[in-house]
């Protein structure tokens, strides 16, 4: 059994040339094909980078996505995009609106996954947003109930996961950052995820940024995925204390670098974090990665954080004689 495999959560920052191209495209100054070529270039560069530093399980970096909910809302039927609403401070975003029955117009992310996988022999994760989060982060003018909306979305996400698996994806990640927002709805979260992962053979993962993880633990262990990917670094690993109240039973994606901070952690900090987790979880069940998607960092910062994840993991393995 391999132990302490390294990976990433999903998004990487877009290089300047791509940011500019996206801007130009929005202003209709460049064609779709031109933007696409640059998205592919950026994807290729990120795959090359991940290979170079020796990451074990790669991601495509989501160079063709804006926001994790808006992307699917734009690609799928049944969604409209609202006017701007404020998230905080001076930050605004277009919140999707469910206006009809949600459906794919054919595979959404599969071509991108195939492209990324064609560039490497390492496994590339399929990356999807979970139905509960898609529902919670959209307005609903059609289904009229949170459950109906989440389950309808779950069927669509399931179809997409199926297609990724058929294309050869060994790992499929279905992110649910909204999981702990309404703890009373955890049954719905679990029910919707069961619809997504039913019958899948690929290894399933769900990334959860815990608002208040204690409100959904240990019940969250019933989420029908093999692995939960959790932020650890930005809360000083205090989740590990939460696990003492009830043993953690799944594989864990162990976030060891804070993605909201420019500052690079010391290698000792990261190694200590990994060793801390090893006291409770066996090494073959730990996947070391950053806390969350890295898209809010600069390219240089993101690369430094990823390299650190790999270096620290290697040193821990060497020190403990792990394979």
């Amino acid at each position: 059994m391999p132990s302490l495999l390294t990976t990433a959560v999903g998004s990487y920052p877009k290089p300047d040339y791509l940011m500019q191209a996206r801007n130009q495209y929005r202003k209709k100054r460049i064609a779709r094909a031109e933007l696409l070529a640059l998205e592919r270039r950026a994807t290729r560069e990120w795959i090359e980078f991940q290979e170079r530093i020796g990451l074990d399980i790669l991601v495509d970096g989501e160079q063709y996505r804006g926001d994790m909910v808006e992307y699917f809302a734009e690609e799928w039927r049944g969604f409209a995009i609202s006017g701007l609403v404020r998230a905080y401070g001076n930050r605004y975003y277009h919140k999707p609106i469910i206006v009809g029955k949600v459906a794919r117009q054919g595979p959404t992310t599969v071509e991108w996954w195939k492209y990324a996988q064609s560039l490497t022999r390492k496994p590339v994760k399929g990356m999807l947003t979970g139905p509960y989060t898609l529902m919670d982060w959209s307005f609903d003018e059609y289904y009229g109930s949170r459950r109906q909306a989440a389950l309808a979305l779950a069927r669509v996400v399931h179809a997409e996961a199926r297609d990724l698996e058929r294309a050869g994806a060994e790992y499929i990640q279905i992110d649910e950052p909204a999981a702990s927002v309404v703890p009373e709805e955890i049954d719905l979260l679990i029910e919707a995820m069961a619809t997504v992962t039913r019958g899948l053979r690929a290894k399933t993962i769900s990334h959860i940024c815990y608002g208040d993880f204690t409100t959904i633990y240990p019940r969250i262990l019933d989420l029908p995925v093999a692995q939960l990917d959790l932020e650890m670094a930005n809360s000083n690993y205090d989740l590990l204390d939460v696990f003492k109240s009830h043993p953690y039973t799944k594989e864990i994606g162990l976030g060891v670098v804070d993605v909201h901070n420019h500052r690079l952690e010391s290698i000792e900090q990261v190694k200590t974090g990994i060793k801390h987790a090893l006291q409770q979880i066996p090494p073959e069940k730990i996947f070391v990665d950053p806390d969350c998607g890295l898209k809010t960092r600069t390219v240089a910062e993101a690369q430094a954080k990823l390299e650190l994840v790999v270096r620290a993991t290697r040193e821990v393995k060497r020190e403990l004689g792990l394979r």
Binding site: S82, G83, L84, V85, Y88, G89, N90, V182
Partner: protein
Amino acid sequence: MITTVVGNYPKIPNLPRPAKLRQAIANVDAGKITRDDLQRTEDQVTREVIAEQIAAGLDLITDGKIRWEDEQTYLARRLRGLRLGGLIRYFDSNTYYRQPICEGAVEWVEPITVCDYEFAAQYSSKPVKPALPGPYTLARLSENKYYPTLDEFVFALADALNQEARALERADATFIQFDEPAILRRKQDWALFEQAMRRLTNGLTAKLALYTYFGDVGGIYPQILALPFAVIGLDFVQGARNWDVIKTAPFTKELGFGIVDARNTKLETRAELRRAFAQIARVVPLDRVYVNPTCGLEFLPRERAQEKLAQLVAAAREFGTRKPRTSAQAEKRNTQHATRKTRKAAKEHERSRK
């Protein structure tokens, strides 16, 4: 029925209307314009959203809280003893606020919202109500590193907010609202809440409203009616259970009837709203009803917020409500008052913001 809003109003419109405030804040951050320039934009946008609320036909409006970064920060940054921490989620929404951190004795130093109120009153032909966060919610959304107990922290905030309300009264505010959504999440704190509300309202003479939202008052009803407020605001969408709860005991206060969903873009039909009015009329006489969205409108895109208000007013008019005297009187008073004080207030406003 008196048509009103709960508090905040979307700060920026969508194209083709320019997002002036967003641009101005970005320009301040980039050092391209001064704080004074930003304040002029805030004034301008405040006047715009006042005009929009009046155009929608509302009887009682707010200043839209255009200057408020979020429901906590605007007060917290001006109260002694609090500083601002990191961003955290606001209830179960997908919005975030800076968490106030209490590191010393809370003290009200000077009026915080008074010049905003005066500014709004001066530019509004309709009565304006200041809407402040209540002490319990403010405490619950903050981190307390100073007071040994939550009770002491809540009471200190209650006293500070009492001072702010007194200052608003001195500026002739005749209707003051406090928002306490947090109590619906922790009804076990009722005893503390009750005491805090008494301290908060101690000695106040304005008409007072207590608004709750994001849930129902089951478990604290009818006790909530005994609190020293004239108006109790309830959310009948996220707190749909309120329909049953208010039937368990006579609703003896005026009701803030939150029926237009301020958290979803789906536009209520006028027929739906009329049915809701008919239903509520069986529980509370309509001359004791303020009808409004469920909470502040900032969760919605600006245009949809406008449409929802227009729909609310149209439905209320269709329902054939007479305009209660109290509202008309307040309006008259406010208008006269505004005209009289216009010049003075404008000058003071300028000064106080420098």
